[in-house]
């Protein structure tokens, strides 16, 4: 039982001990926004792929597909631009 408690204490305090060893923390706000944008980007890529599949399986006419594809690509480009801006901000030297 003592061994279990000792292991538990070691596990719980690991990050606290590491913090005392001065590991730099990630840029939290920028990291979170970037993560959201990356998830949105991945979802947009899926949408683009699915729209093409919808066209190829006959659910969309070519005209409809091209229109939707154009919109989706524009949305994807906007997400990539925002992602680049967030990453540039995170990489910029502070102060």
């Amino acid at each position: 039982m003592l061994i279990v408690v000792a292991v538990v204490v070691l596990v719980l305090t690991g990050p606290l001990r590491a913090a005392r060893a001065s590991r730099p923390a990630p840029d939290r706000p920028a990291g979170a926004e970037a993560a959201d944008l990356e998830a949105a980007r991945d979802a947009k890529y899926r949408e683009i792929r699915e729209a093409e599949m919808d066209y190829r399986t006959g659910k969309l006419s070519e005209d409809d597909w091209r229109a939707i594809d154009h919109d989706l690509r524009a949305e994807a480009i906007e997400i990539l631009r925002r992602l680049d801006r967030v990453r540039d901000r995170a990489a910029a030297p502070r102060g």
Binding site: M1, V8, L12, P15, A19, A32, Y45, A51, T57, K59
Partner: protein
């Protein structure tokens, strides 16, 4: 080992408390090492509860009756296979199982997201540890699995005979895995609402856990139905029992959520709806556990009323209040980014499907809690039976089946009438042809709702087949692959989509089994002596001969039946009524009849086939034996009182066993009329087959694509879009 188990529960409580503090402190102060420490508290909880679980299982395997729970739910004669399952037949073991599973799934999600959703994760961790603390507290202070008695009995009470079934080995862990997995999207939704990080990321990290919760709970529901069909002696698989409904409600809501999050991911719509839905699912998962554990509603499943009702109600009230408060406070951030482009779109179909699924869940909720509502209002508990449920759920289920075929064939954003005509022509033709064939060749016309379901199921299967065909053909044309290769590659590349289509097909098949077996079943409840027959549909059942088996743990009085069709024997069925000893009696009470008066169980005689099941259950009344039992009881009570030595005790036991055996053998030697429930049911097997297909589809949808393939897909699009960026002068 029991003291070690009790200590581990206390340690688990401290871990939960520390983890909640550390997570919240880290999140509020931005000291992320504390948030990481809080995450590790979940890992530590998993370690501690795993050890506790192993201790409990070992106690069952050893038949250590110093553990109260082992003495109450196991015995030395319980097969090892069922000793392993016995912990979760008890209140105490169930609570520990809940915490253990919860800690494992929580550890997994937090490990997988340790570098992601860093702002949300600490709050999610606190919520998950809060649930764990609640259940650990119940296990520690109200129903401790490690409680012991000073004097251990020589033998345990044994497992409830109803639970001696393979399905019971995995049905509760599946249900509890489903419930605990559903708390994960709930916790992350709470974290997202608290932090205001309401983008796609929290959904993308928890989506698989929502799907896994759907899968496990669905498997648990189907296993429970199978157990009911083969064990409970009434011949049905679904009775709208409160505990069945308790699992169905969150399952319906998570089904809706799995579909509607696709709309949020793609279009940034339905954010309020999705947040509300996932929070409701988490609440219903806890509510489901509450219904099973509190005994508040009468149910053949409930394991006795307990004192846990109050704490559960308090937790549910807190969850409801907190969820409503958070959604209302964040309603501005939950505004949709886009609107519905067209009613002829997959988004519109998903929205309609969501509404129907939630309506179904509400109907089940109302029917389940109506006894409590009526008691509160009128002072009398009124229950709603299957006819009430069928009136509301059947039409809604038909709509769900229809939409499960329409959804895959309609495009996102907008579809044109011309495209819809092209997409639906063949499936509609298949549905129409199916209806015509059934009308002409069968008596399906007398059950219009069942006929409608059959046609809709054919429609769904045709839609799925068409999608697979067209998708494989398109892929084959692009990649130059042969059709079978293209089909496999298509599914591998789009697991979520085609796994989902397979689920739709499985559900359609399952509903075919449900509709056929419930609408075209033949039942005969009758009393027969050996040689007598009973008609069931086009079959004749004959009671051939009685059977007797006397074992240490039970007495089995049964029947062998022959089944004839058009004068030709087609099947032999064996069914029995098993009588267990009554372990509640004192040593001098009913020394002989006690072996016949414990909780009886029915061994069903079942012949399952692809086209029909034959089902028989016998109930052998003991009235003809009663006077003999009473006489022998008096005789052996006197003998018992005169026992003075161990040798005389051995002789007494031997004589008692001979008498019990001879009384049981009277059924074989001079059989009397027994009551039989005889059923012929078409297409029941397709319920289980449909469940397996749906589960396979769920697994495919759940399975992650290879990392390399994901990277290739992302890189390809990045390069294409990068070129466009350059061309646009960005």
């Amino acid at each position: 080992m029991a003291p070690a188990g009790r200590t581990l529960l206390i340690v688990a409580l401290f871990i939960c408390g520390y983890g909640i503090f550390a997570s919240l402190y880290g999140a509020r102060t931005g000291r992320w090492e504390w948030a990481d420490s809080g995450r590790r508290a979940v890992y530590a909880l998993a370690l501690v509860t795993t050890i506790a679980w192993v201790i409990l299982e070992a106690a069952f395997l050893r038949s250590d009756f110093s553990f109260n729970v082992v003495a109450a739910h196991s015995s030395t004669t319980t097969p090892t296979f069922y000793k392993l399952a016995a912990p979760w037949s008890s209140q105490e073991g169930s609570l520990l199982l809940w915490v253990w599973l919860m800690s494992l799934w929580s550890s997994l999600i937090l490990f997988l997201t340790r570098a992601r959703v860093r702002e949300i994760a600490p709050y999610a961790t606190a919520v998950l540890l809060g649930f764990a603390a609640f259940f650990t507290s119940l296990a520690t202070f109200f129903a401790n699995p490690f409680a012991t008695s000073a004097t251990a009995p020589a033998e345990g009470a044994g497992l409830d005979p109803l639970l001696l079934h393979p399905s019971m080995m995995i049905h509760p862990p599946m249900l509890y895995s489903g419930y605990t997995l559903m708390t994960i999207p709930f916790a992350f939704a709470i974290g997202a609402l608290i932090t205001g990080r309401l983008g796609s990321e929290w959904i993308s990290v928890t989506r698989r856990f929502a799907l896994a919760g759907w899968l496990f709970l669905g498997i648990g529901i189907v296993l429970g139905a199978r157990w009911s069909y083969t064990e409970l002696g009434w011949g049905g698989y679904w009775a709208w029992d409160p505990v069945e409904n308790a699992a169905l409600m969150p399952w319906l809501c998570i089904t809706a959520f799995i579909h509607s999050i696709m709309i949020q991911e793609k279009r940034g719509m339905l954010k309020v709806w999705n947040a509300s839905l996932v929070l409701a699912t988490g609440i219903l998962a806890i509510l489901g556990t509450f219904l099973v554990r509190s005994g508040i509603l009468d149910s053949i499943h409930a394991f006795g009323a307990s004192t846990l009702g109050g704490p559960f109600l308090a937790l549910i009230a807190l969850m409801v209040a907190g969820s409503v408060g958070l959604v209302v406070s964040r309603r501005a951030d939950l505004r949709s980014e886009h609107h519905l482009d067209s009613l002829l779109s997959r988004e519109a179909v998903f929205l309609l499907q969501n509404l129907v699924l939630v309506a179904l869940a509400f109907a089940v909720f109302w029917g389940t809690f109506f006894p409590l509502i009526s008691e509160a209002v009128t002072g009398t508990k009124h229950s709603l039976g299957p006819p009430w449920y069928d009136r509301y759920t059947v039409p809604l289920a038909l709509i769900v089946v229809l939409l499960s075929g329409v959804g895959p064939l309609i495009a996102w954003r907008r579809a044109t009438p011309a495209n819809l005509r092209r997409a639906f022509a063949a499936p509609l033709a298949v549905a129409a042809a199916t209806a015509v064939v059934l009308l002409v060749a069968t008596d399906a016309a007398r059950r219009p709702l069942a006929l409608t379901l059959f046609a809709l199921a054919a429609f769904v299967l045709a839609c799925v087949a068409q999608e697979l065909w067209r998708g494989a053909r398109a892929r084959g044309a692009i990649a130059g692959e042969a059709l079978p290769v293209a089909l496999v590659a298509l599914v591998r590349r789009n697991r979520r989509r085609y796994g989902g289509y397979l689920v739709h097909a499985g559900i359609a098949v399952l509903f075919v089994g449900v509709a056929a077996s419930s609408s075209f079943q033949h039942v005969n409840q009758t009393s027969l002596r050996p040689g007598q027959t009973a008609r069931v549909g086009s079959y004749t059942f004959r009671f051939d001969r009685p059977t007797v088996a006397v074992q240490a743990q039970k007495i089995s009085l049964g029947a062998v039946m022959s089944v004839f069709e058009h004068g030709r024997r087609v099947q032999t069925l064996r069914t029995a009524r098993e009588f267990y000893p009554d372990t509640t009696l004192g040593p001098f009470q009913a020394p002989i009849s006690r072996f016949f008066t414990g909780e009886p169980e029915t061994q069903v005689g079942l012949n399952a086939g692809l086209t029909r099941d034959m089902w028989a259950a016998v109930d052998v009344p003991l009235t003809p034996l009663q006077s003999a039992l009473d006489f022998r009881d008096r005789q052996f009570q006197m003998a018992l009182r005169e026992l003075t030595t161990k040798r005389r005790l051995a002789a007494y036991i031997q004589a008692r066993d001979v008498v019990v055996d001879s009384l049981a053998q009277r059924w074989a030697q001079h059989p009397w009329a027994a009551d039989f429930r005889l059923i012929v049911s078409p297409l029941v097997t397709w319920i289980w087959i449909g469940g397996i297909i749906a589960a396979a589809g769920g697994l495919i949808a759940l399975w992650p694509a290879p990392v390399a393939a994901r990277r290739r897909a992302t890189a390809a699009y990045r390069s294409r879009l990068g070129r466009e960026l350059a061309e646009s002068g960005a």
